[in-house]
Subunit: 213 residues, 2 copies
Amino acid sequence: MVQKELTSDWRGARRQSAREVIVDAAWALVHKDGLAAFNLRDLAKQAGVTTPTLYAYFDSKHAIYDAMFGRGAKEFVDRMNEPFDTADPPAMLASSAQRFVEFCTSDVGRYHLLFQRTVPDFEPSAESYAPAVRALDATRKLLAMNGITQLRHVDLWTAMLNGLADQQVANDPGGDRWTRLVAEAVTMFLTHCRSTQAARTSKAKSRIKGVQP
Amino acid sequence: MVQKELTSDWRGARRQSAREVIVDAAWALVHKDGLAAFNLRDLAKQAGVTTPTLYAYFDSKHAIYDAMFGRGAKEFVDRMNEPFDTADPPAMLASSAQRFVEFCTSDVGRYHLLFQRTVPDFEPSAESYAPAVRALDATRKLLAMNGITQLRHVDLWTAMLNGLADQQVANDPGGDRWTRLVAEAVTMFLTHCRSTQAARTSKAKSRIKGVQP
DNA sequence: GTCTATAGCTGGATAGAC
DNA sequence: GTCTATCCAGCTATAGAC
């Protein structure tokens, strides 16, 4: 029951492209009707095949979720790694934040699968998850460019952006009540990190000079 | 098919208390196995009755969700409105934030039903939702005590706390990786609001004095 | 009101012909 | 590999006896 992932021969290539077609259809359905309504009968119809044919390419529904997750994670890292139209670190960070929230709110089903883990008993495989890790690394790098290296602050960053996206999706879908707050949130965050950074630095200097607070 | 809500006579009171027993059992199950696993067979067993008996007290599964939501919302407002052990507005706000995140993370199923709306096609009735509105009003009042009255800032507050709770529940259940950041987040938020408040005030003063920036 | 029994539906997964 | 046909599990909801 092992899935062939090889694409070295034309046989594998055909198989792989057929899998892609199915994943295309799956995302089209989820985008239209939401993740909760997703089922294999509708998927087969959308892909122009029958249910058993799906099982020629995937072992189970969860395997399809996994392929969908992989696709979504790849879209995510690709979007987050697109070049910025500025070299100013704070501006890049703000851009990145905008991208993140826009990515989340532009496809609610994708957001639920990738970030909310709303599918019972589903966990992505390491392969599918890998791109998401790369995206987080890119974010960490961007934060570091702004002098932000503490895990505490990285976590605060993800929580803040996730919260904005979540409120937008849950309470004002299609609107901009929370997305429009992104720039302000970034400013708030940067100001805060700089001030605590400054405090730490001056504390360190004081210690060096032997001064007690 | 209308549910009797009257408790004026002993008949209605008995009925109401039977409903409470069922809702008790429902929450016990959800607390144990999660919201996604919740079904009526298990609920009947837990409540010590059979499935049809549930329908003597509720019209549908959604009606049970609604009663559960009402209970959860009441717990929420009760917890949020407990007296604070301080009269200092910023300290009260910080306490409130701690309470909120602790409330969310202490029962994941409850968090999903109340705040994530993860049940397909379920929306709480106005009656069940009412306590949640009162809780948000209380939060608004607390923020106002700290000089924060703009809708923008209220929304930023809810997004930030929701984000912290969500990350905690989704990525570190049972831990404290994000909950321990609450105090810092509150400080960041308050500092930010004060500074923009000051900017607005001085801008207004400048306008009065006829000074251009 | 409470039970036994079951209808009726949905949806994942498979057998076997072609 | 793809189909038709079907199985089977799990679930909400109801019929009818007591």
